[in-house]
């Protein structure tokens, strides 16, 4: 009787161990999130379109701060949504940190535009801003591509 019980115990232990180890996969970074990629792509397109408009005609009233408030509202809502979404995903500190940094830069972009004397960014401003935002969006895309490739 004791022998049967002992064998059942060993078999259960082996089965449990097998089950545990077969699912043993190290996860340091959360899974790729397609929704986040789409949101970052949308934000990048809005920002790039704005910079192209300023470069084409820096003195146009279309790119004066008072006429860009809607764009900033849209960008800020998207940035907040990206941050909130990513904060709630497990093992996602890299993406949530980048979302916080992006939101901060969107706010600073608006702050800079707002304090410009005539409400217009100069071409020098745009050179600096374009470089910063392109690098920032590029970094986020690089990370998202790496997690996408890992999950394939």
């Amino acid at each position: 009787m004791y022998f049967i019980y002992r064998n059942r115990y060993v078999v259960s232990l082996l089965l449990g161990l097998s089950l545990m180890l077969s699912s043993c996969k190290v996860t340091l970074v959360s899974a790729y999130d397609a929704v986040s990629e789409q949101m970052v792509t949308d934000m990048q397109q809005i920002t790039s379109t704005f910079f192209v408009k300023v470069e084409s005609d820096p003195s146009s009233s279309d790119v004066a701060y008072k006429n860009c408030k809607k764009m900033y509202e849209d960008l800020k809502v998207k940035a907040a949504t990206l941050r909130i979404r990513n904060m709630e995903i497990d093992k996602n500190k890299f993406m949530s940190t980048m979302a916080v940094q992006l939101e901060s830069n969107i706010k600073d972009l608006e702050a800079l535009h707002k304090i410009k004397q005539n409400g217009l960014l100069s071409l020098d401003d745009v050179t600096l801003l374009k470089s910063a935002f392109e690098n920032q969006y590029g970094a986020i895309f690089k990370f998202l591509m790496a997690s996408k490739a890992r999950d394939k």
Partner: protein
């Protein structure tokens, strides 16, 4: 005294190197390119401020934006390094799994 790109990039890369330790060779080209861009932009901000083309307040915002952008680059590099480490660990576990299963004769792992 005018700042040079190398005055900024050298110490930046020296500081980053030990943090990314084993992954440094993989991330070095990207880190170098981004550090150089960051340094060039800081120099441009300094120049515009000296020439009176931007106010000190505007310069401060520009610097904050550049710093934040560069932090995102470093965060992405750290994240990609973590994914690389994760892939390496899972590959190692995969090898152990194959070896153990073969030795036992049935799929234990």
């Amino acid at each position: 005294m005018a700042i040079k790109v190398s005055d900024i990039t050298g110490p930046m890369l020296d500081a980053a190197k030990p943090i990314f330790a084993n992954f440094w060779n993989d991330v070095k080209p990207y880190a170098e390119k981004e550090a150089k861009g960051f340094a060039q932009n800081l120099i441009m901000i300094e120049k515009l401020k000296l020439e009176g083309k931007i106010t000190p307040e505007e310069a401060a915002i520009h610097i904050r934006i550049q710093k934040n952008s560069y932090f995102s680059v470093l965060t992405a590099i750290a994240g990609i390094s973590a994914i690389t480490a994760e892939n390496a660990l899972n590959a190692a576990i995969g090898v152990v799994r194959d070896t153990v299963n073969k030795a036992i004769g049935w799929p234990l792992l």
